[in-house]
Point group: C2
Chain length 374, copies 2
């Protein structure tokens, strides 16, 4: 069983879109950055195929922003990530692991440059605001650090571009991946980027105040009727199939970017002031485990091993060689897929790896997010 009842309180924040999400018949949530994030509307499979064929509007307001604003904003952003941010254009975003001085990952946001002295970290699930705040105080940086009133709404699926163009105009066609424009809706300017946590294409709209949230939602539905628009959410099956990692699930604060296969998002030779760069340079050649994709034979039911145990051990001949981190059925490949952190000793042969008594031949699925994250 993979779901239980969720008690709601003000601490588990609703979003400006929650009313419509409820009306659209949301069936389940997770909690992400202390906020409700929908996880299912009809069934995992119906949600999946609809996303692959049509267009969905996702309440991803839980993808909170940390705003860095002031003369030292760029300096603070660079301190937190080993990725070189100097070549970031205005209104461009970059996938950038946030690491501490030992090289462990705290988050993997998209860092968006709004101006030379203004950045957003579009967060995965941890309070990076507190890290940024601590650094800003400790280093006496001239920068404001805060969570702005910005509520991302994603439009995802093959018909997303058409729908977003109908609402924001034809200029959206020219927006490249991880780039954005300031576009207007009912007189309110907002950042609209080609991005999103699916491989089906689409946009994220950074809604800058709660008052405009429902009007925008409603217009997307009015103009998308013939495109079969409906409410959706990040789809676990699709994202694992697509090789998109989830911070906290697939990787955590005990992992380094190398172990998670994020090597290409590090600029270890760049002459930048980053907290983690020295530790990462030292660690890069001593990796003993790596995050990989697994595809299982047959149709094992992995949901039991995820029944509130937070993962499961992987065994070869009774010896632990790694741990399962997330899993889902692939509707496209008709296979059980998973992400697992595995000792590198076992990576080069096709050993039969057991999960709780279920055997599988392991091999990598194309989980590397290279093509999606630039």
């Amino acid at each position: 069983m993979n779901s239980k009842s969720l008690s709601v309180s003000r601490r588990v924040r609703a979003t400006p879109f929650s009313k419509r999400v409820e009306q659209a018949g949301v069936q389940a949530y997770t909690v992400y950055n202390h906020m409700l994030l929908p996880t299912q509307f009809k069934s995992a499979e119906e949600d999946y195929w609809h996303l692959c064929e049509h267009v969905q509007v996702w309440d991803v307001a839980a993808e909170r922003q940390v705003e860095l604003k002031g003369p030292d904003a760029a300096k603070l952003a660079q301190l937190m990530t080993p990725r070189d941010l100097r070549r970031l254009d205005t209104l461009q975003g970059k996938y950038a692991p946030i690491c501490d001085e030992q090289g462990f990952i705290f988050n993997d946001p998209i860092i968006i440059k709004l101006a030379d002295d203004r950045f957003w970290l579009s967060l995965a699930d941890s309070d990076v605001r507190l890290f940024a705040k601590g650094l800003a105080i400790g280093y006496e940086l001239n920068v404001e650090v805060f969570e702005p009133e910005v509520y991302p709404l994603a439009v995802q699926g093959p018909k997303a571009e058409e729908l977003v163009a109908r609402v924001f105009g034809e200029s959206v066609h020219a927006i490249r991946f991880f780039r954005g424009e300031i576009l207007s809706f009912e007189g309110v300017d907002m950042y609209v980027a080609r991005s999103g946590w699916s491989k089906q294409g689409g946009f994220e709209i950074y809604v800058p105040n709660p008052e405009i949230a429902l009007p925008l939602w409603d217009v997307l539905f009015e103009k998308g009727r013939d495109l079969h628009v409906r409410a959706g959410c990040p789809n676990c099956n699709e994202r694992i199939e697509a090789g998109l990692l989830s911070y906290g699930g697939d990787m955590d604060a005990f992992d380094t970017p190398f172990e998670c296969g994020l090597d290409s998002y590090l600029d270890l030779n760049a002459d930048i002031e980053s907290l983690s760069i020295q530790a990462l340079r030292e660690k890069q050649h001593t990796i003993t485990r790596r995050l990989v994709g697994l595809a299982f034979h047959g149709e094992p039911n992995l949901s039991d091993v995820f029944n509130y145990v937070g993962g499961a051990d992987l065994l070869v001949n009774g010896k632990k060689v790694g741990e399962l981190r997330s899993q889902a059925w692939s509707f496209k490949f008709n296979k059980q897929l998973a992400f697992a952190m595995i000792d590198t000793d076992y990576l080069d042969n096709n050993d039969c790896i057991e999960v709780d008594g279920m055997s599988s031949i392991f091999h990598e699925i194309p989980f590397n997010p290279d093509k999606l994250m630039t």
Copy 2:
């Protein structure tokens, strides 16, 4: 409706007690520090009366610890709180708001001194580890900051002391409030403190490794059979009745300790090096709103106004004067109770305050945690 389905993944961590919690028939969870925290077993009312009359074992592993260890541990702890920690005895805990340089609250942990160079911050729901880490790096402090493998288990209710003594020995009777001892269970030493998030009395056991978690749980149930022990959890009705605040719900990062009535946990005249003390000295006389308890006439059903809206406005003659932060029915007083942040202009008269069209005479309930937190 106040509950929905919760999707579970490794990101929403299970605890070493989750297996027993499930077997005990948990009905709902919340997510707290990225971890499952049970919220209901039978009904709110059954859970409430049982807690007030017998003894419950609570899986509060989600009350994560931040450990500060090293020569600068005490310095770092003091930087984060305006409460004077110098007089803290070893194995004593103090309720201590964590504030930034502007005096806003980031968390309200119990800070426990384990040794002169070793502290635990026993957290409410936010990643204070990242704040501590940022400060340690920025100030170049000689201190380790990490989340230790410690999983608190609470034993609460009028018969808690008897049960804990049966398991850990008669010395527990001598433990004073917010004090603790290192006691042994099956050869494993652990910190046992007289504390917990209820007004019914009890202890918190800081279980130092997952292997001992289920054996300890089982012994508590074996030895507590005649005390009518059962699995429980923080009870929203009891905690509001008792005046215990919830960080993130009743107070958040846009509030100061003064606004939340936490004046007595600040040592503004102490000669301590604390980030927030200067800002708090300046802000203490300019408070324009305050967190208070409300008791409503009649039996208004407030659950609707909390239906994913994250609070509700309070009105006097149509003008907004504050916002509701949490609410629950008091089974003892037979009244609807709530915490609300209200403009101080409206505090001194018994104006009729409306909530979404429901009227109420406002007055304070004894929510100040003075007597519980020392």
